[in-house]
Symmetry: C2
Subunit: 509 residues, 2 copies
């Protein structure tokens, strides 16, 4: 097995990917290195010292510039990088300059990638353009699949890890077809999701969530999935949560040449900044004024080093959250850095049943789950919980008592209202007591020490929608009951979710 | 004027505070330096090189240990720091050990602070304990005021910047009294809000919001306000938004001695970390394993350097957001790092009319405002907008047409629905057209190019509560109208906020 999954959270994972030049820990970012204009690039050893043991470069450009010489030189010598090297086949050039100007022979470039010593190689796919018609997108799917079948015949015996790109763009049925057919072709160790660069530039995060969720729900889980061009830290947490394992991008240097400074909250023009809100080696050495006054080429390289540090920091933050089972909380936080990410979180919520199935039941140390807003209502733990309650309540007979839960008095049987109800005889040995509370809706009181019913934190002031969700769910659960029961609801006007009028429709039933 | 305000956003500001040893840019953080056990501390020159040109130390301890010698040595030589030095009078020791064990003569310690060369000095106040009864809290307010009046008589002529602490703790009426009376005492250049250390440790952020908002709404705006013990990066954005100018804390080193690693998202035990989610000089040099294996005292100092970098980064981030007029957006994001901060944002929203009055109308470059959730509904720009609409609509006569707004088609008169309505004659020269849209509720179409009606971003999928806010506000505005008008509401089922049934109650009117 060349890809070992070591930790999971949501649909995301931390993995160890084996290549012929060593292991990569995923999620991993591959900075793009231009094999030619190296005086305009961040030096490869600097990239490695920042923390990237892998890069991606372009076999098509190497072939054009170095031709046969590259076979002797090897790609690692050309770009002067001793870590893991991935190569692309020129799909980006094809996208940019069109197939009339760029000619790539799929089998030839594949063999060339083997010969120049790539560790991970992308076949010569036909990327779906962002503005493709449905027919054009379909053609890119079929042609990529045809090439994938042809190419793998030629290079199956090499020790290169081969990457098969999934096409289809914004047409999710085509993405699904592409992923289904790709899964059937043997010999590929990795998949990639086609170039969303221009979608990303327009903050079209929702579309990418659709593409990735559809592809990931079909592709085999034991192989890593790459996202082309996902180079802004903004997108990383959401994509990892959906199961993207590797990223690549040139944006760290392209942005830098344009004087743009990345942060986890968005991008700034360096000329607009009075402070550098970062503590990396660049930002603790320079003031914005000093950076602006640097010679342009020098400034671009230094800004690019900062941009790489931001990407590295966000990856480490994502991995820390993933290990802790807090990836959902990180994407909730990051959803409030741009309204498009907030919309993308809404889109991710459409796929939450699939995410719930992948999300591990047990995640090392159980930590308190943090609940904030209606978005938190869709956490996998809560979806799982509500499924459990549905099955428990359906057949429960006899006396059922619903008590308001107080998030500040846990476990629930320690709460004042429970103790009062007990001492006054409202609760007897025969009664089934359930606590009602937003987010959870209902919790059987006998489970009050089971995770996460005593391990959660929520604000006491909350959206009315969460209270509506609760009353609607209670009403639905009661109407679905198959066993006869006598249900008593106790209310306490101290809590917004326990006002008498909330239950007046139920009383009529 | 010793405090010059240079930028404003919400109730927060960037200022320049003059002291006898130079200027401090606020918001500023004063790391606590222990004047005695310096081998256990981060060296003062390291603190300065991280970016802190000011520290706070304890005159009471200096007096106990160095006595008269400190007059010759000076506080700066004792702690080996050449920047701005603030001294406290031992209030923390009083809180911790009680007034039977700690005796402080207010006038004596004040004179001593002048003599040892403090730049900023806190008088010997009587801090309100977190567990004080109302009577005890009242006593601490009155006694602090009495001492403030006495002390300033003695030291008015010194060139020290004197700090008068506001007491009252969780009793906001006492905080208000304390602030009112303190404002009347001349000679103080700065105020401080009493020690919320134990409240902070229990994540009682809401209580601190109440204390600070009440005090700030009374204290003169042209003087800086300090928050004692606000040393976790979690609290900084919210406190700056309320107008806190300076912070101090020893938590960077206390946490470090306990193996705790700060991040903007919360605190980790270093032994729980597999990654260091930061790119500061410490985190780019060490792995968690290497840190754990260091000798304990050494490890504490190194971790403390990291903790200081996190505080510095968050301050720079807050200042960047403040300059840009995006402080509201930063506190929305940070509110999703702990449910107690989410609750504290709800508490801050109670004071939003006061914040709106302080928030500047014009903030340099107008940027798009980002809207995420119901919390965004309370932004000062929107409160101001809704006040404007109320006054406009009240007296508008004639034909009024309400059209759904599309956030993706701006300015509104460019929208398809507007153009269709115009071409079909639904809108004529005599009609007053208003666009309806969540968050804004109503916008007169003729203002569609005025900031921020064409400069905002919002997700298209949104909380039902926001739509309720909109329909309730429209209904209220119509019922408050004093001038007669014929109102037509056009709906378009494409938008969640434009379904016909939303307006059925209005039709009946």
């Amino acid at each position: 097995m060349s890809f070992e999954i070591r930790d999971k959270d949501l649909a995301g994972r931390i993995g160890r990917l084996k290549t012929k030049s060593g292991y990569i820990e995923t999620p991993a970012f591959f900075p793009v290195i231009n094999p030619v204009k190296q005086d305009r690039e961040v030096p490869a050893d600097k990239i490695m010292s920042i923390g990237f043991n892998q890069v991606i470069t372009n076999a098509f450009i190497i072939k054009q510039v170095f031709g046969d010489r590259a076979r002797e030189l090897s790609v690692k010598k050309i770009i002067n990088f001793s870590g893991v090297v991935m190569t692309d086949s020129g799909a980006y050039q094809l996208l940019r300059y069109g197939k009339d100007r760029i000619r790539i022979e799929p089998e030839e470039i594949a063999t060339y990638q083997v010969e120049i010593g790539s560790d991970i190689a992308v076949i010569a796919d036909i990327p779906t353009r962002d503005d493709s018609s449905y027919e054009e997108a379909k053609e890119s799917v079929e042609e990529t699949l045809r090439r994938a079948r042809l190419t793998i015949e030629k290079v199956r015996e090499s020790d290169v890890l081969w990457v098969l790109p999934i096409q289809g763009g914004v047409y999710v049925d085509l993405v699904a077809r592409s992923a289904r057919e790709a899964s059937k072709i043997e010999g590929y160790g990795m998949y990639a999701i086609g170039s969303p660069v221009t979608v990303l530039e327009k903050y079209g995060f929702s579309k990418i969530v659709d593409m990735v969720a559809v592809a990931k729900s079909i592709l085999p889980l034991d192989k890593p999935v790459h996202l082309f061009g996902g180079g802004h830290p903004l997108i990383i947490p959401l994509m990892v949560a959906l199961g993207v394992d590797t990223f690549d991008s040139a944006s760290y240097i392209l942005y830098a040449r344009d004087g743009r400074y990345m942060t986890e909250e968005g991008t700034y023009k360096i000329t607009d900044l009075e402070y550098l809100p970062c503590e990396c080696e660049v930002c603790s050495r320079y003031t914005p004024k000093e950076l602006i006054e640097l010679e342009e080429k020098e400034r671009a390289k230094i800004l690019a080093v900062h941009n790489l540090h931001v990407i590295n920091r966000e990856l480490k933050r994502v991995k820390t959250a993933l290990k802790e089972g807090r990836l959902w909380e990180l994407i909730e936080e990051r959803a409030r850095t741009h309204p498009s990410l907030r919309e993308a979180l809404n889109t991710l919520i459409k796929y939450v049943d699939w995410i719930e199935r992948l999300d591990p039941r047990f995640k090392g140390d159980a930590h308190a789950i943090f609940l904030y807003d209606t978005t938190s209502y869709h956490r996998p733990e809560l979806i799982r919980h509500r499924g459990l309650i549905r099955s428990i309540l359906k057949e429960r007979r006899g006396k059922i008592i619903l008590l308001p839960g107080n998030p500040d008095e846990k476990p629930f049987r320690n709460s004042e209202i429970y103790r009062v109800a007990l001492s006054r005889g409202v609760i007897s040995d025969e009664s089934h007591v359930l606590v009602y509370l937003p987010y959870f809706n209902l919790v059987p009181v006998e489970l009050d020490q089971v995770y996460p019913y005593a391990q959660f934190e929520m604000p006491l002031t909350m959206e009315s929608q969460l209270i509506n969700y609760m009353t609607e769910e209670i009403s639905k659960l009661i109407s679905e009951k198959t066993a006869e029961a006598e249900i008593t609801i106790l209310t306490c006007s101290k809590y917004a979710w326990s006002k008498q009028e909330l239950f007046k429709n139920l009383v009529k039933q």
